[in-house]
């Protein structure tokens, strides 16, 4: 009990600090990509020590804390307050089952670096809680009583539901191969095999990567809060600490996505020649494993941040067609390939994992090329075309009975 509380305290502290510094990192990456230097002035308070701007999160936090807790008069007060709490709570609670390794402290005492060790439905728990996060978005958009917020919330719900399916299909492949829903077990299997699941099921990895990016609402999938179209999306009406809760929940979602990618597909704490493959490690090795795990998570987050500035945002119909016409079929293909491999070639995979992953990569490349040739999105129209049967407004003429117009005089 006490141990769990300590773990929770440490986890929440680390997560919130990480979030604050990820905001700084995001601003740095944004600046560097745009040939600027980024925030570099704030250092230790009340001194002239600048520390490359590492004091910025503290300054931002104090600023946001001291802001007025303003609630617009037109909002639904209860839901307005509940929404950021629910999104934050679900984002944080999700980390209860994320394993950061198991350390043997000696004397028969084994420390699991998880808040809730040994939960058999870990993956389902994560999947369920990441879906709860949608409620925060929808509630916030609805309670704000603002059309832009509501549009953002609607977009978000459609997007999150659409991308949850490829996300689930990506996870299914991992479950099939590892035969377990426990995250510790998934990581241990990858370590034992010596080949990460990203190598063994590349299509699944790709589908999961894209879907996780969309679930975290990162560019190029940040439709729910597209600034150019929706002011700020679902948190337009929020300010002060409530806005901070939304913003940090977003960053925690990104951390979650990165953690899941690393645990499910990039081998968790495993690295060849450094960490060994035993499930339980001594203190020194355990810390090394922890560092490797955090390093991998950091790299994936950094990739997310670079992606943000590399590729333009999808249009909403492109987003949907990508989810339903490309990602969903690819996910099913991955599921079938993995199912066949596990059913008929399980021994071969365990004997020669590298050969198996080479075969899987060959299959992935073939599938990829075939997808490009078949082009599931070939019927997507981008512009109203001159010869398009659908776009002939003048030839249609007015509908029988005239155009439907609002009769304002009658209403009076």
């Amino acid at each position: 009990m006490l141990l769990a509380l300590i773990k929770i305290a440490v986890l929440v502290f680390v997560l919130m600090t990480a979030t604050a510094y990820l905001v700084l990192l995001e601003r740095w990456v944004a600046a560097w990509v745009q040939d600027r230097v980024g925030p570099n002035r704030v250092g230790i308070p009340l001194t002239k020590v600048r520390l490359w701007g590492l004091g910025q999160p503290l300054a931002d936090g104090v600023k946001m804390l001291l802001k007025e807790q303003y609630v617009p008069s037109h909002v639904d007060k209860f839901l307005y307050t509940l929404a950021p709490i629910s999104i934050m709570a679900s984002a944080l609670a999700l980390f209860a089952v994320v394993p950061f390794g198991t350390i043997d402290l000696g004397g028969g005492y084994i420390l699991d670096l998880v808040v809730a060790p040994g939960i058999d439905v870990g993956l389902i728990y994560i999947f369920a809680l990441s879906s709860v996060g949608v409620y925060g978005v929808i509630l916030g958009g609805w309670a704000s009583n603002n059309k832009y917020s509501f549009l953002g919330a609607l977009r978000s719900s459609a997007q999150l539901i659409a991308y949850e399916i490829p996300l689930g299909l990506g996870i299914l492949g991992v479950i099939l191969m590892s035969n377990s829903l426990r995250l510790e077990e998934v990581v241990n299997q990858q370590a034992e095999l010596g080949v990460w699941f990203a190598f063994l099921q590349p299509i699944g990895f790709l589908v999961f990567l894209v879907a996780a990016c969309a679930e975290a609402g990162r560019l190029p999938f940040d439709l729910p809060e597209a600034e150019q179209e929706l002011v700020c999306g679902y948190h337009t009406e929020y300010s002060g600490m409530r806005l901070v809760m939304y913003a940090s929940a977003e960053f925690i979602h990104m951390i979650t996505a990165a953690v899941l990618i690393v645990l499910l597909f990039l081998g968790g704490w495993h690295f060849w020649g450094i960490t060994g493959s035993e499930p339980v490690a001594g203190l020194g090795l355990g810390l090394v494993r922890l560092l490797i795990l955090l390093g991998k998570i950091f790299l994936v987050i950094f990739l997310f941040m670079m992606v943000r500035w590399s590729w333009p945002r999808f249009r909403f119909d492109q987003l949907m067609s990508l989810a339903w016409k490309v990602m969903l079929p690819l996910g099913i293909v991955n599921l079938v390939v993995v199912a066949v491999a596990v059913e008929y070639f399980n021994d071969a995979i365990h004997e020669r994992p590298w050969l198996a992953s080479a075969v899987m990569w060959a299959i992935a490349i073939v599938v990829w090329v075939v997808t490009a040739i078949v082009n599931p999105r070939r019927d997507d129209t981008n512009l109203p075309r001159l010869n398009d049967e659908l776009y002939r407004p003048d030839e249609l003429g007015p509908p029988s009975g005239g155009y439907a117009t609002a009769d304002l005089t009658a209403a009076r």
Partner: protein
């Protein structure tokens, strides 16, 4: 306007080739561009720590100055063209009869509200005798609004301070001396 109006220029989106439809090459291209910029030279000038370099002071639009002629008199003839051209209405001139025989009027008072000025350079363009010019002084600060309203003496002193570093543009361009 009908869809088949000849004035409408319909543009089709270019068709993606196979490589384009495979996404990955294009995605990698974008990623390499951003990665290259990650390490490229930064353009930011950390201003109070580092002074910016001004490429050509003659083109720069900074603080105004009122030029003097060879005899040290103010060149302005109080024609009000600059005040008329000014979109921000920051130039205020009071004209008086000139004490000198070579011109009819001269500015008894000539003030520019530097806080209202948008540094567009229209006054400089409008001036027929090249009396008002923009210098390359950019660090313009003051402790009160009144201090930022530059009068004739101050504008002439700006000329005295900058005439060596930035000679009158008119001289090099063949305008009035």
């Amino acid at each position: 306007m009908k869809p088949d109006d000849p004035d409408i220029n319909w543009i089709e989106e270019p068709k993606l080739g196979l490589a384009g439809r495979m996404y990955l090459p294009l995605l990698l291209k974008g990623l390499t561009t951003t990665t290259r910029h990650l390490f490229s030279k930064k353009v930011t000038v950390s201003y109070p720590d580092v002074e910016p370099t001004i490429q050509n002071p003659l083109n720069y639009r900074g603080v105004h100055r009122l030029n003097r002629d060879e005899q040290g008199r103010v060149k302005c003839v109080a024609c009000f063209l600059c005040a008329t051209a000014c979109p921000a209405h920051c130039i205020d001139i009071i004209a008086a009869e000139s004490p000198w025989p070579d011109r009819e009027k001269y500015p008894q008072s000539f003030t520019i509200d530097e806080l209202r000025c948008i540094f567009c350079g229209m006054c400089e363009e409008a001036c027929p005798v090249d009396a008002i010019e923009l210098t390359s002084l950019y660090n313009l600060t003051g402790r009160s609004r009144e201090e930022m309203v530059f009068d004739k003496e101050k504008l002439l002193s700006v000329y005295d301070a900058t005439k060596d570093a930035e000679p009158m543009k008119s001289a090099s361009l063949g305008g009035t001396k």
